[in-house]
Symmetry: C2
Subunit: 459 residues, 2 copies
């Protein structure tokens, strides 16, 4: 591969025959694939200078050659024979999505020692370990910057720049659709349904928004990024996942009144379970709607932008911010992986992937320390707050703040005033918080419970 | 180096003899060096798992073995014989600073094919090209994430993640001292002198703050990062540099009133000079106090934090944020480079550095398009604004906004009222802006000119 112009294949033109070329196969011509093809065709000379060999797009495998495309590409590049294309290439870029046939095709390339670039988060969050093992066995690499947070360089910085540090926690806004919806709700007071409709109108949300709004898309990214951060291998099923369909305009407004904003956060964090000799390090992976203080750097991430906030033992707090989706931005991430992989190949030497040596087990929510906000509707009479406070105390959960708001009296029932009590707890074990909430929900003085949401705070 | 336990050197203990080791030489035991030593000694086993060989700190070269240290390190590691230490090592970490003897020592290591990690921005901004050439000739690498923006991963993302994109502009808050001072002035209304004194009291500024407040430190970083971003080689002398000593509390307050904040920005941007066939791409490198709209992501970077904002053709707008200085954060950047370089060495294959193939010439300020804010003190009478506006127009500079503020009349001179006119221009060639400002300064109706500062705006 160092100099494929020395191979039996003739170079396609006289001007290209003087420089070595590397043969690139592209699988998929969707939004991102079409942009990658455009960049490869337009910038081949400049990219060749950077790589040390000129990348040559030899073909684009698609299901249907005659499908309409958003970007005009030479028709002769299209083929339905992905296997032949892979076998003919030096490097393979997989941008088809889905588990099969993507997985079989990627393994075909890796087993032949060809570097693979992929943006397939679902596949990586399910079979990442197998793909990495295949790459390592063949002395090549699989790279997937585009699979996590679109254009934002986060996979590579995590792999390389933070490789000498100990990551404590990763918090990310990793889905642009849900961030757009929550940001709309926050800035305009819109309901979830209205904000979703607006997102669909603008093309930020798909007709079937389930994968986004239920947090599944973010969960795949958390599994991938958490694995790299903690040198362990996780899958989608290791991620506790709650979407934003239950977040109401009232929740958003209540958060705003307390100086918070609600974001759908993907979190991967180190958790110690047990004590003394029994203490064991585990990793909690979750996607949950979360209240963030407005001064937190992630609180300022608006619209469909993404950002990943990393807390590391030595580096401290880092944030990576940028577009989380879109054809050209995601193509930039793919191209970065491609150029980096090709530079390595041209220079010689095997690929280097993440290590999963730590094997920290994924853990459920019980041991995670977090805090909750919740709003209770109660009769407006003395003793109610004392009664509720004692239930918190019984479960070992302490209250950080309480705000009471007297509601206007119902004229039909004079003398029976109601009050809204809004609590934010200190950090406590999630299991204790859940038990506290259940006990409070059963209390006679609690007429209604609303706005139950996790809080990331410094308390 | 793949397995130095197979070399003639005996491993230092029985437990270590079973895994390959790599021998690390450290030059310098200052703030950052001491933290790197501590991490290497504490985390060797974990780092070994990541690298595939255990890093062994074989010595620390210092000028004076008996100097007091902030971190307690084994005395037997210290030596004054840097050359012998380098010759005995597999990899060299240079954290001494200054041009010599650092340069000679780094070349000694590179020429012997040993990877070098350095945090020496002054050296890299002066002799970077020579050091890269030496590394490439010997098939090894020099890495320096720590030289730019402390703990923030920016060199490697720029080198690898953005290697398939075309960078248009890099804007960075790359000096924590000046950002702390400007942030204090903005949030408390303090004068420059008071904010500097506070920064010195808190250890954010040195007793002699020249290198920071005059922008020299940021200029070195701009030269280094601009070179990587534009695949060209620049030195400190290519950077137009203005510090913040002339920024007054009034400037900060005026900016605040218009919805702006003043930051010391390091900028590297692509500039096209000439037109048509004569058009030539160049790169302008500058460090200048700049007004930023409050909604710009860099405007929210407070205290001693750093951030780098990148505009790329496909990726769009990215931001990298984190601590720009400090022993442990900077050590994290050094360790990331070290682990990445060692992983490559252990896996086999040569190092890969930046390419400088583009050779875009650095250019002065004349052709740069920017806008200016300036405040004029004028007699409060009709016709003044028209007179001044015509001077802007004569020089081809158009006005974006004008705010007039009538000043209270001086009781001693009734009838001679004065007004403050605050202009922000649209983007124009810097040379035209400078000529406009000079012409306005000469006008009879202009009693005083203040708060002249560049603006980054979307207009």
């Amino acid at each position: 591969m160092t100099n494929s112009s020395q191979s039996q294949r003739p170079a396609s033109s006289a001007s290209e025959s003087s420089v070595p070329t590397v043969r690139v196969a592209l699988l998929g011509a969707g939004n991102v694939g079409a942009e990658v093809a455009r960049i490869l065709l337009t910038d081949a000379v400049e990219l060749g200078e950077r790589i040390g060999a000129r990348p040559k797009l030899i073909g684009i495998a698609v299901r249907d050659v005659d499908s309409p495309r958003t970007v005009t590409l030479p028709l002769e590049l299209f083929t339905t024979d992905a296997d032949a294309l892979i076998d003919d290439a030096d490097v393979v870029v997989e941008l088809t999505g889905g588990i099969e046939p993507a997985k079989t095709r990627i393994l075909r390339a890796l087993n032949a020692g060809k570097p693979v670039i992929s943006g397939n988060k679902a596949l990586l969050a399910q079979h990442g370990e197998q793909l990495h093992a295949a790459a390592e066995a063949a002395g090549t690499s699989i790279s997937y910057e585009a699979a996590v947070a679109g254009a934002i360089p986060i996979v590579r910085p995590m792999l390389d720049s933070l490789s000498g540090d100990k990551v404590k926690r990763v918090l990310g806004i990793m889905n642009g659709t849900t961030n757009y919806i929550l940001d709309q709700m926050d800035t305009t007071g819109a309901s979830f349904d209205d904000a979703l409709a607006e997102a669909q109108r603008l093309g930020y949300a798909e007709a079937d928004p389930t994968a986004d709004v239920e947090g599944h898309d973010a969960a795949s990214k958390v599994a991938i990024l958490g694995g790299i951060a903690f040198h362990s291998s996780y899958t989608f099923d290791d991620v506790y996942c709650r979407g934003i369909t239950g977040v109401t305009a009232e929740d958003v407004e209540a958060a705003r009144r307390s100086g918070f904003v609600i974001k759908l956060l993907g979190v991967a964090e180190r958790v110690t379970e047990g004590e003394g000799d029994q203490a064991q390090e585990k990793v909690n992976l979750r996607v949950v709607p979360t209240m963030l203080p407005r001064k937190h750097p992630l609180a300022g991430v608006h619209g469909a932008f993404n950002a990943v906030f990393v807390e590391a033992e030595n580096a401290g707090e880092l944030m990576f911010y940028g577009p989380g989706a879109g054809g050209a931005p995601t193509a930039s991430a793919v191209m970065g992986d491609l150029v980096a992989a090709l530079r390595r190949s041209v220079a010689g030497g095997p690929g280097v992937g993440p290590t999963f040596h730590a094997g920290l087990p994924a853990t459920g929510m019980d041991g995670v320390k977090t805090s909750f906000a919740l709003t209770l509707l109660c009769p407006d009479r003395t003793g109610v707050l004392a009664e509720i406070s004692s239930v918190f105390a019984e479960h070992g959960v302490s209250i950080s703040t309480m705000q009471q708001r007297d509601l206007p009296e119902d004229p039909a029932h004079p003398g029976q005033g109601q009050a809204e009590l809004r609590f934010v707890t200190h950090r406590a074990r999630n299991a204790d918080l859940v038990r506290t909430v259940e006990a409070i929900r059963q209390m006679d003085v609690v007429l209604d419970m609303r706005g139950l949401i996790r809080v990331e705070n410094d308390n």
